[in-house]
């Protein structure tokens, strides 16, 4: 297990002890990423229920407001530190093209710049290939990269404070710890949304589903589990993920909305929510329990054990849960599997049947083996990243 280098002069002065561990700038960033992710979820639901949008639709405003808040806040932070005469402040930063700023601040600025660049690119894209009908497009990928960068920057900003104070004042850091778990869960949700088009309940017996979960989602879970200082970090982060997605699942259908685009195949009267969350809390809890036992082992062994445990627990949990999700028992307000965008025909055949695998039987089983390999490789990368995050101080 890595040792953490204390960076404050010991002991902390009395005034510093009483200082709130969460700075105004951090609160600003957390507000920004909350606004961005609220906007992202709202926007997807908007596209499924109302359809017609513009650059200034409320979800877009939430996304860009969050981006601008974090971007402008971070530029101010960069300027203050760069031009600060206090050596102590300048020394708490990294160098960038002759300027000084914490790493998280730089990532937030980069993310805001990427989001800003994606706007004219997206506009050109719509004029050339038509308006949005897919989540995934090159300009949206750039927007997504910007959002991920801002989320990472916010996580690192919280972490740099957390890591500095952790060994000095472990009793006074709960707010930082929970702040990190919250931002980490937003990061996980962002990654989940990136691949959500392939995570429908009818695809849960398809190897691609497990390959995606065991690569795109295991990495942030493993990394933030290591970055967090909570007792059950992976459980907490996946718990936040579950709660946030359940809130949108239960709240959005209460808000009236009507489609404004033709053709309307399903005349919805309220917002259509995103899918019922994946049962990531199951592998999250298992990873927490497992990691406590293997934390002193070699990282390769950790990755093999964590990856395998994640794969097996996701497979068992999601495989059997999907039978329930595809059954009439889940067509209720708790699971919302009957919810359908306005542009989908509710009478379509096979709506609640598992999608058939296109390849051969051997390819099918090989697909699951590939998912297992993904789980090991990406949990290694996640653990590596997490170990680095544990040491971030600037």
């Amino acid at each position: 297990m890595e040792t953490i280098t204390p960076v404050f002069e010991l002991p902390l002065r009395k005034t510093e002890e009483r200082e709130s561990p969460v700075s105004l700038y951090t609160i600003f960033l957390i507000f920004g990423v909350t606004s961005i992710m609220t906007g992202v979820i709202w926007d997807i639901s908007w596209h499924m229920s109302i359809g017609r949008d513009s650059l200034f639709s409320p979800p877009h405003l939430a996304i860009y407001l969050g981006g601008l808040a974090t971007g402008i806040g971070s530029i101010i932070k960069l300027l203050i530190i760069t031009f600060s005469k206090k050596v102590k402040i300048r020394n708490s930063s990294v160098s960038f093209w002759g300027m000084k700023a914490p790493l998280g601040t730089l990532l937030c600025i980069w993310g805001a710049a990427a989001m800003l660049t994606s706007a004219p690119f997206d506009d050109w894209w719509h004029n050339t290939y038509g308006l949005d009908v897919k989540i995934l497009s090159p300009p949206h990928a750039l927007l997504f990269a910007g959002i991920i960068s801002i989320l990472t920057g916010t996580m690192l900003t919280v972490l740099s404070f957390q890591n500095q104070r952790e060994q000095i004042h472990p009793m006074n850091n709960n707010l930082l710890r929970w702040s990190f778990a919250y931002t980490a869960s937003l990061f996980l949700i962002a990654m989940y949304i990136f691949i959500i088009e392939h995570l429908g309940r009818t695809k849960m017996h398809n190897p691609l589903f497990y390959q995606l979960v065991c690569s795109v989602l295991i990495m942030p879970i493993a990394a933030t589990m290591r970055g967090s200082r909570l007792s059950y970090p992976a459980t907490t982060i996946t718990g936040f993920y579950t709660i946030i997605l359940l809130i949108q699942l239960w709240l959005l259908p209460l808000i009236p909305a009507e489609p404004k685009l033709a053709p309307i195949l399903n005349p919805v009267k309220h917002y259509v929510p995103l899918l019922f969350p994946l049962l990531l809390i199951v592998p999250g809890f298992i990873l927490d329990k497992l990691y406590k036992k293997i934390s002193n082992k070699n990282i390769f062994i950790q990755a093999v054990l964590c990856g395998s445990a994640f794969f097996v627990s996701v497979l068992i949990a999601q495989w059997f849960f999907s039978y329930f999700l595809n059954s009439p028992m889940s067509h209720n307000w708790v699971f919302q599997t009957h919810a359908l965008p306005y542009y989908k025909d509710p009478n379509v055949q096979h709506r609640f049947e598992f999608a058939k695998f296109a390849g051969t039987t051997s390819q099918y089983y090989m697909g699951f083996m590939i998912a297992l390999i993904h789980a090991v490789v990406f949990s290694y990368l996640g653990l590596k990243w997490g170990n680095w995050m544990r040491r971030v101080q600037r």
Partner: protein
């Protein structure tokens, strides 16, 4: 033998659908008791937005609503109508946007509400992709600069992360940290370049999918065969795969399955014929009098879902043909260019064309027909219309067949009107008989079908609303029926 202009036709036909080079839709008719002039700019990519301008004339109007209606889904699959806004400072002009999200035969239902109650009409708006765009230089350079900044800054940030982010405050980076940073920066740069290659391939796939979905008009093969003394024109329709479009589902427009126009490249000869089907994909027409020469062929058809198309080809007529007309609705022969007035037998057709026609703006081209010393001519309905006009740009990049109601096909309007579950006003055929046999079924209120012309227009003047798509010289042929024969005039119009 095909003429060299085939290449031009292939080019223009790949960019066009019902109206070659003239995408704007103009409709002059009624919405219940309210006369309206509607101009629509359809989207050239799908999903896309159509722009709508409605001139409600002098009637007192409270509000106008628009609603997109697809043939496939009807009004039950349409969203609620949207109120559209008045154009600032113009009491009678309203403008709005119509969102068309999927390919296919679509339309806009327009409901006008005023003192006389609510009246509705429908205008076909095809939802098809016809445009290929490249990035303009300013956007391209701007995005390249931002792209370079994002790549270089990300590499630097990753370098700073490795070099400095984990060392205690105030400490300097170690040589090992610096070395690691350089290695990681190189790896990051290579990864970004790999990602960009992937993104470029992804973009290429989107571009290729888009091009596959672009509208592909039906192809036409026109050939003449001489049998005995008759020259027969054979027209074969070839259906290139596009969406799920059929070619054997044509419906009659003004009573004819196909309206064929032949225009010789010297601009002298003009023919408006109505080939008859041999089967659903093969048509024939006995050619009447035509001089030897090269001809542009334009064939107008309407699908059962209301989608209208103009098929194009070229034709070489080897020798002069002189046969009798077999269909009294056909015309073929010389139509000389006139400056202002065309005199055909005792019929005088006077063009009243405004001095300055601006491309992109709606205009009304009017023709006054008189006989026997400026008395209003007693015109007869020609294919259910007060008159027909054909507009072609001098380089053949624009071709359109107009009626007094505008650019739309009546058959299209009728097909789409049947998908609306309430009374709407559409254009009916102008029949010889006063009690028109309109054969409307169910949803269309026969009483509120607006005829092509009022008594005023019938007696003296035929007005064609149109939007010239681009500046240049255009030819316009006007066709009317007078004393049982089709009479034509040809005029030149300049748009700026």
């Amino acid at each position: 033998m095909k003429h060299s202009i085939t290449l031009l036709l292939i080019f223009i036909s790949s960019l066009s659908y019902a109206h070659i080079g003239s995408p704007d839709i103009v409709y002059q008719g009624n919405a219940g008791p309210y006369p309206v002039l509607i101009t629509i700019q359809p989207p050239d990519v799908v999903p896309g937005i159509a722009k709508i301008l409605i001139d409600a004339g002098s009637e007192k109007i409270n509000r106008i609503k628009i609603q997109p209606v697809y043939y496939q889904y009807g009004s039950s699959g349409a969203p609620k109508g949207d109120d559209i806004k008045k154009v600032a400072g113009m009491n009678h002009l309203y403008e709005g946007s119509l969102w068309l999200m999927t390919f296919g035969s679509s339309s806009v239902k327009i409901s006008v509400e005023g003192k006389k109650g609510i009246g509705s009409t429908i205008v076909p708006v095809p939802a098809i992709a016809t445009a290929t765009r490249t990035m303009d230089q300013t956007t391209g350079i701007g995005l390249q600069i931002m792209g370079a900044f994002l790549i270089l800054s990300l590499v630097s940030i990753i370098g700073a992360a490795i070099k400095e982010s984990t060392i205690p405050h105030g400490a300097s980076p170690t040589p090992k940290g610096k070395r690691s940073a350089i290695i990681v920066m190189c790896i990051t740069f290579i990864s970004i370049v790999s990602l960009l290659i992937f993104a470029n391939n992804w973009w290429g796939k989107v571009e290729s999918d888009y091009r596959n979905n672009m509208f592909k008009p039906l192809k036409l093969n026109a050939q003449i065969e001489k049998e005995n003394d008759k020259s027969t024109l054979y027209l074969d329709i070839v259906n290139p795969a596009w969406q799920e479009r059929k070619a054997d589902d044509l419906i009659a427009d003004h009573g004819k399955l196909m309206h064929l126009f032949l225009i010789d490249t010297k601009g002298q000869q003009f023919a408006h014929l109505h080939p008859v089907p041999k089967d659903s994909l093969h048509f024939v027409s006995i050619l009447p009098s035509l001089n030897e020469g090269n001809y542009l062929v334009f064939a107008e058809v309407v699908h059962s879902n209301g989608m209208a198309e103009t098929l194009t080809d070229t034709l070489h007529v080897l020798e002069n043909i002189n046969s009798k007309i077999t269909d009294t609705d056909d015309f073929a022969g010389d139509v000389p260019l006139n400056s202002e007035v065309a005199i055909v037998d005792n019929l005088k057709i006077k063009a009243n064309i405004q001095n300055r026609i601006i491309a992109g703006k709606p205009v009304k081209i009017s023709f006054k027909c008189t006989e026997d010393g400026n008395m209003p001519a007693n015109l007869q309905p020609y294919l259910g219309m007060a008159g027909h006009a054909v507009v072609m740009k001098d380089d053949a990049s624009v071709f359109i067949h107009l009626h007094p109601m505008g650019t739309i096909s009546m058959a299209s309007q009728y097909a789409l009107a049947e998908k609306v579950d309430e009374n709407i006003t559409i254009c009916g055929n102008l029949s010889e008989a006063s009690e028109a046999s309109l054969d409307t079924t169910g949803v269309i209120d026969k009483k509120t079908i607006s005829l092509m012309r009022s008594n005023k227009e019938y007696s003296s003047e035929i007005i064609f609303p149109y939007v010239f798509p681009k500046p240049g010289d255009y030819y316009i042929w006007i066709q009317v029926k007078h004393k049982g024969t089709i009479k034509n005039g040809k005029f030149k119009i300049k748009a700026v």
